[in-house]
Amino acid sequence: MLKDITLGQFFPGNSALHKADPRMKIILTMLYIVFVFLAKATLSYIFVVFFTVVLVIISKIKPVIILKALKPLIFIMIFTAFFNIFWTKGDSTPLFEYKFIKIYKEGIVFAVLMIVRIACILTGSCVLLTYTTSPIALTDGLEQLLAPLKKIRVPVHEFAMMMTIALRFIPTLIEETDKIMNAQKARGADFNSGGLIKRARALLPVLIPLFASSFRRASELATAMECRCYRGDKGRTRMTKLHYKPVDLFLLILMVTFGVIIIVINIYLIDILNFSV
């Protein structure tokens, strides 16, 4: 069923990461990604893995859920690793040689580090942001982080409102699509046979009612918003104000420490484990 596709991927909970301010989490996620890319030495990669595990533990998200999220990306990871193995040239003699194919130790190390990097960035940004922040809080945080742009007339509030509404209606639309598809199937519509063009045509009886009801919904929602005196950003107050709390400071310090350690390793300890790249 279409409805079984989970979207938004938010897992409610009460960990420190769940409680943190969405603005802070957006900042932390960006910092995290930058720091992971800064990591050069093998030792720093080990540290990146360690830190990511710490984040997962803080988030209290079950590791199974994270493995599930990584599963669809296994192909991309293997693909990247595969190219790195064959394309990286090392100084030492190749480990394996067959005609023009040469595999160096450096290539293998680099490929492994590449996989580690992708997996860590994904896991990290998931537990820092998407898994622990409700979509509504996320757009709220984004709006307030970008608020300074309002000065140069960027319609930040409007974009955020659009995003919130879109997110709110995704499940509704999926359910509706399911219903209309079933209704047309009951009249003998056939979505699974024929060539590409025939299949695309077969979707018309689903898309037209779907558009019609989306327009109807949009106009109803607009009316309802007007009835409740919505008039855009100007003079609008908030029911839930965002405040930075001690937990945000704690997470920020943790992240900065992480960054500092990575940089220190890069500068002073780059040669500790031999296969640096």
Binding site: M1, K179, N182, A183, Q184, A186, R187, L204, P205, P209
Partner: protein, 297 residues
């Protein structure tokens, strides 16, 4: 004869996820051929899930079976589309599935999918439009220009035009005003009278099923609670009230009359029948009074 027979039907939504929900639990039911069968239950009792079993949109969990005139519809999964032409299902709020430029084309969608000839399609579209009281001038209009009740009837016609052996209607009158309801049920009745096909009406209104159905199946929390003729089912007034369905008001009224010593017949559940019965009693009283007077004289 049984048009549809459901055996051990169990169905779970979102199986093996945290949202798992068992909507039907071991349901056994029969729907009689050539009759108007009522399927009734409160909101969320699994009525819509059950009717989607009947035309193969949902597949029951093992070892459940759906028998259409004695034959399991899942014997040949490849031919499930043919089952959908034989068991026509009108969804709840069917007007939201209209999509063609004109009502005529929309009604023709089903028959076209059946691969019928142009002439036959034309005949069926006109026939179906006649049943539901949509006249020729409306057929050329866009369905998006019609009123709510008209749209609903065009959508009904879209399924009737396939002339299914079993016509199922999921809450056909939901959200309509009294006139709209009367028109919709009128359409269903004239279809059934003419074709003498099996009809299944899903509803949560006891008044509606009492007025239009020959027999009833009551669903409660995904299980069959009662089944039988309207009269038999409405005898269980207490159970029906407990599960939030109740019985037609007129049925309660007649019971109260009986309990207060007025000798009305049992098993009356429509206003018309109640009126006849009360008039009969009044006449009888009159006659008795007259008789008594004569004797005294």
């Amino acid at each position: 004869m049984n048009a549809l027979e459901l055996k051990n039907i169990t169905y779970t939504y979102s199986k093996k996820t945290p949202f798992e929900h068992t909507a039907l639990k071991n349901v056994n039911a029969v729907f009689k051929a050539g009759q108007v069968n009522g399927l009734i239950g409160h909101t969320g009792s699994g009525k819509s899930t059950l009717v989607q079993m009947m035309n193969g949109l949902l597949k029951p969990e093992e070892p459940g079976q759906v028998l259409l005139f004695g034959k399991n519809i899942w014997d040949e999964p490849k031919k499930i589309r043919d089952i959908r032409f034989r068991v026509g299902l009108v969804f709840q709020y069917p007007e939201y599935q209209l999509f063609e430029e004109t009502c005529e084309k929309d009604i023709a969608f089903g028959p076209k999918n059946m691969g019928l000839s142009e002439d036959e399609i034309k005949r069926r579209v006109n026939g179906a439009a006649e049943f539901v009281g949509i006249d020729q001038s409306l057929l050329a209009k866009s369905p998006f220009e019609l009123s709510g009740g008209q749209k609903r009837r065009v959508a009904l016609a879209g399924v009737m035009a396939m002339e299914p052996e079993v016509l199922i209607l999921d809450e056909p009158a939901a959200g309509l005003d009294p006139i709209g309801r009367e028109e919709v049920f009128g359409g269903i009745r004239s279809y059934q009278k003419t074709k003498e096909n099996t009809v299944i009406i899903v509803s949560h209104s006891m008044e509606d099923v009492a007025a239009y159905c020959d027999n009833l199946t009551v669903l409660k929390d995904g299980q069959i609670m009662l089944t039988g003729s309207c009269g038999d089912v409405f005898k269980h007034e207490r159970e029906l009230t407990e599960c939030g369905l109740g019985v037609p008001k007129i049925s309660t009224f007649m019971r109260l009359l009986r309990e207060n010593g007025i000798d009305v017949k049992d098993g009356i559940y429509t206003v018309d029948a109640a009126l006849d019965e009360i008039l009969r009693l009044l006449k009888k009283d009159d006659v008795e009074k007259k008789d008594g007077g004569n004797k005294n004289a």
